[in-house]
Symmetry: C2
Subunit: 399 residues, 2 copies
């Protein structure tokens, strides 16, 4: 019997490298990486992880579908999330990209055109390509603002219609990952509505940080990232759906012929473990910070003012409306030319001061976020930047 023989499979694999794996960044440093600042867990979520870390733990009292589980209160959470986001139906997903793919794969047909903004995240392209859609771009403003131009959507719709090309979806990046511009979603949503096309808002950098309401923004669907902006332990996200056009929700939530409760686009169930739990336990924290968004906007504007005064140039819309900030930093580049550590001096100097999350070697430009830092930490970061620049100037006899 093969099954009752002793085996030694894989015993030659050295698994020591998978022991005691440590991550230092978050615990020991102030992390300025924009993709990580909105995903830091509050204590409540660290607690729930201890309870639910085992595989398939959320399935203890499942009657067939994750989104209907009452213990833990997943079903209630999704109802609350719908309310919070001005939507009618919410489903857990593995993240914003997976939410986008669900929409593209169900609401659109292969060969359809999806019109997206010039600031669209790579995952919007990848999801569209996976769903075998054609991609059409609504151009954004040029350097240095890169603002989305809502009217461009109208132009592209009319052009595609004139060419007889089928439009399946309008997608707008609510806040883009390069410049942190906040697009005028309401206006694009109005265009979608007037023209009769479904409208998907990519809220990976907005929902969970700032106020987002599907109804107010004329959005049919919100793609929401748990690990990026909802203090969720990755991978997780939400898909919030407006039920105004029932035809859309019928397509999105279509169930299996074989097992009539299972939704095809969810492959039955999606976030079957810790991630969905942390979304729930982080919700109170998220509600609180969304309502403190005014403070975050003031914080980023202050940072920009301070750093532009010492030679940084902020790229993107003004006034600034989001924590994700891109700077051109000619002064760092100048110091790097003289410093023996070359481009690495900035990273090294920040590290000495307990600041991380800025790309190693970057001196021409970089992205950062101070989202959720205390005022004291924010000031410390800005002072550190200033000090590094001042020292660099002095040591290298620059003006």
């Amino acid at each position: 019997m093969e099954n009752t023989e002793k085996t030694t499979i894989g015993t030659d694999i050295n698994t020591d490298k998978y022991k005691n794996i440590k991550r230092h960044l978050e615990r020991e440093m102030i992390n300025l990486n924009p993709i990580q600042r909105g995903g830091i867990l509050p204590t409540e979520s660290k607690k729930v992880i201890y309870e639910y870390w085992d595989g398939y733990s959320v399935c203890d009292y499942c009657a067939g579908r994750l989104d209907q589980v009452e213990t833990p209160p997943i079903h209630e959470y999704l109802e609350d999330a719908s309310k919070f986001f001005g939507a009618d139906i919410t489903r857990p997903t593995h993240g914003a990209r997976e939410s986008k793919y669900v929409i593209m794969n169900s609401v659109c047909k292969p060969g359809d055109y999806v019109i997206m903004d010039g600031n669209a995240h790579y995952t919007s392209f990848v999801a569209a390509e996976r769903a075998k859609l054609n991609i059409d771009i609504a151009l954004v403003e040029d350097y240095p603002t890169y603002r989305v131009i809502p009217e461009k959507y109208k132009e592209r719709i009319e052009t595609l219609e004139d060419e007889g090309k089928p439009i399946g979806l309008l997608l707008l990046t609510h806040v883009d990952g390069n410049y942190g511009n906040v697009a005028d979603a309401k206006k694009v949503g109005k265009i979608a509505k007037d023209k009769g096309y479904p409208f998907l808002l990519n809220c990976a950098y907005s929902a969970g940080r700032m106020p987002v309401n599907a109804e107010a923004l004329n959005a049919d669907f919100l793609a929401i990232s748990g690990h990026k902006s909802m203090s969720g332990s990755g991978p997780c996200g939400l898909l919030a759906i407006s039920n105004k056009n029932e035809e859309y929700s019928k397509q999105i939530l279509k169930t299996s012929k074989k097992n009539i409760v299972k939704e095809l686009e969810m492959l039955g169930c999606t976030s079957r473990g810790i991630p969905i739990l942390t979304l729930m336990t982080s919700f109170a924290h998220v509600i609180e910070r969304v309502n403190n968004w005014d403070k975050e906007v003031k914080r980023v504007r202050w940072i920009i003012d301070e750093l532009e005064a010492v030679g940084f140039k902020h790229i993107g819309e003004k006034p600034k409306n989001h924590d994700l900030t891109k700077f051109e930093t000619p002064i760092l580049d100048e110091i790097a030319e003289h410093d023996k550590r070359k481009g690495y001096f900035f990273y090294e100097e920040l590290k000495k001061r307990g600041i991380g999350g800025i790309r190693r070697g970057a001196t021409k430009e970089f992205k950062m976020s101070a989202f959720g830092l205390t005022d004291e930490q924010t000031k410390y970061v800005v002072d550190s930047f200033k000090e590094i620049i001042e020292n660099g100037r002095k040591e290298n006899n620059l003006n």
Copy 2:
């Protein structure tokens, strides 16, 4: 400025219900739920969770793709996993169902037929429906064995070919979730190979519990569940790919036109957080238990012998080759008829004894697994079952 106004969104939502969420089952009970026994984390994985619980934590040193990350050693792990499973390329996914969908969406064309066994998991159906494939069933043996009949695949291939229907994939459930039968994958793989069709083995209940080798089983792809059988914190899984037919891997791993490093079927990156980390840290534990599979098979056979002696009837193949076990339990049904707690008496009596994971109210039949229990725990479970039956007989004056 909308962005700098104070808001009170969602402050009417009662978030108290998301505080102090507890799970009692795993900590306080011996859990016999087959979908959960292979997903229990070893200490090493609990440690890594504490390091990596924040959102997007694995991306600290990412150069563009999750599967290539070196710190933590994800790339190395995937190489080791390929070796362990006799495959050439391994990718992290969100679970076995997502792995299956990747294959169906890339290797097959809409309208293709996928031939699957009569024991196929509902997610195989759902994934095929989502990928717009037709489903054809290779029937299994009747009650009470339900064994997969490899020759049926050959019959179905020939029938579909005769009817001029395009076959896109053969899918076999290596170990099914109803009876825990271990199918003869090698034989089905040989048929696939001889006929020239791609062969996907659903290893959700096998890989990580028992020896599985893609090459030895003639499998082109293994769909592996992290939370079900690899001691992974859900949701997570692996897709192990044989590179023998390079045409397949080219289709599966096709990259984006927009961003040429991003794989479409992975939507760029999949398991961006704790789940992939726990797969890595659980690997040593998994290797060890796979090589102790002979003991698990002996354990389940002993349990069946003991429980059949007191009136249970084991459903599925004999001899038994897997821990997932289905029993018909006419004796429990008889007791339930007389007991004032009706069908709930069994669940209640087990609970009193610290045993959980058996469906509440089930007395006609139930599924269980003792995978990974100590010998002492196994004996305690069997003795508890016997005691409950004996007491039930006595109290209700049954023979």
